[in-house]
Amino acid sequence: MRQALVLGFVAAFAAGPWPQAAAQTEDPVAAEFDKFRAVLEQDNPAELWEVKGEQLWKTPGGPNKVSLEKCDLGLGSGVVKGAYAQMPRYFADVGRVMDAEARIVHCMITLQGFKYEDLAKAPFSSATRTPDPVSITTYVAAQSAGMKLAPSQGHPKEKEAYTLGKEIFFYRAGPWDFSCANCHGLDGKRIRTQPLPNFAKPETALASVQGWPGYRMTGGVMHSLQWRLSDCFRQQRFPKPDYASETLSLLMTYLTVNASGQTYKGPGIKR
């Protein structure tokens, strides 16, 4: 009965001025997921890591026993509010574009004295351990909740990053001939029951950024975009991208710029 109503609603709006909204409600399964995703987001375990990340940011740590409060996320030394929504961006001190987590890792190395090799050894969360950069990224991301995504595209290197990121997104290779676009360059498709938003289109690109860092229901762990993209390459049957590498920052630039101007809700919940 309810299903019939939903379908009727969709039919009424299919020819309306909001094709995107229609595409989202078309699938009753997706509609059910959306409804309960909102319930889950109301109390998101991600908040536990926001608290932890804030502590890690503010407490002296690492071999140098200093906090990260001098870390420049692009808006000046120590400014966290709004920084995530404007990343990836170009950093003159490293001569390249960095996403939030890559920048945090950079600060942990340069300010706190950590070694990249140590941070990159097991950079992703497991059931029993959440690496510090993941918690810190969650905290930093939460400080941009409700803000419009505005990754900077003013510097030539930022424009170049977008172009290169786009090429990486569309690069078909590997034993299964996959590019990112094979799954995420199509409209209104799903894998199993999971919707696959088209990240190449501004209307649907937000889904590539929204909800990350995210509390992932599978395994009950906190993951950032670094993990998401890395694991996509695993599923793509590619070799493994280095943690916090430039390739990942470039790909994130492509995705985030496509979603520019849309509101970022902060850390989310993911399947």
Binding site: I109, F178, T247
Partner: protein
């Protein structure tokens, strides 16, 4: 060690982008970055980043190459199909159903021909296709295969089409989003026969 860190964190300054056009444009610089930033893991070796003729053509033409080129490549791809020596194309649909359900294999922690759990590689078929009526959690990237044989007939030509499509999807549509399961060594001959049976055996639930 320190050099590596620097390369990872500040490397970009040294690589300049040429004027890339569309998604199909020059990816020389992007590829160079990927070759620097990706590392092999187990069976996922670095040569997986190298494109073959089909991948390169599809990339270059945004999955829509000129007809003459597409025809030529499709012919080449069709020629790669190795037909079973015993001439039989239909295996066991029950085993085919399991292969269609399984989505593992060929990734970082998997072994040659086997998943990390020691099962034979899966075909990931349900990820993209509706197949048997019992599974409602199917993907929609590919067309529905429900009643595949019932709708198309159970004759030898359709059998050969199904087998060859699984073996090398690019033989029929050169930029198809479907992997080349035989050509890439993902599935064995027996597995592909079992999948063909899942689609073509009149007794398979797919054809009920």
């Amino acid at each position: 060690m320190k050099l590596k860190t620097l390369a990872l964190l500040a490397g970009g300054a040294t690589i300049l982008a040429s004027c890339a056009t569309g998604p199909g444009g020059s990816h020389g610089d992007a590829l160079r970055l990927m070759q620097r930033d990706f590392k092999p893991v187990g069976i996922a070796t670095m040569d997986r980043l190298k494109q073959d003729k089909v991948q390169a053509a599809c990339n270059k033409y945004d999955d829509n190459p000129p007809k003459a080129l597409a025809d030529e490549l499709q012919k080449e791809q069709y020629a790669t199909v190795k037909w079973p020596a015993d001439g039989k194309l239909l295996g066991d649909w029950k085993s085919g159903e399991k292969i269609a359900q399984r989505g593992r294999g060929m990734a970082w922690n998997d072994k040659p021909g086997k998943t990390s759990r020691g099962e034979p590689n899966g075909g990931s078929c349900y990820n993209c296709h509706q197949i048997g009526p019992a599974t409602t959690s199917f993907g929609t990237i590919g067309p529905s295969l429900y009643q595949f044989g019932k709708l198309r007939g159970y004759g030898p030509d359709i059998q050969r089409y199904a087998y060859a499509k699984i073996y090398n999807a690019k033989a029929y549509s050169v930029c198809s989003g479907m992997p080349r399961f035989g050509h890439s060594g993902t599935l064995t001959e027996q597995q592909m026969k079992d999948l063909t049976a899942l689609l073509m055996d009149p007794a398979s639930p797919v054809n009920q």
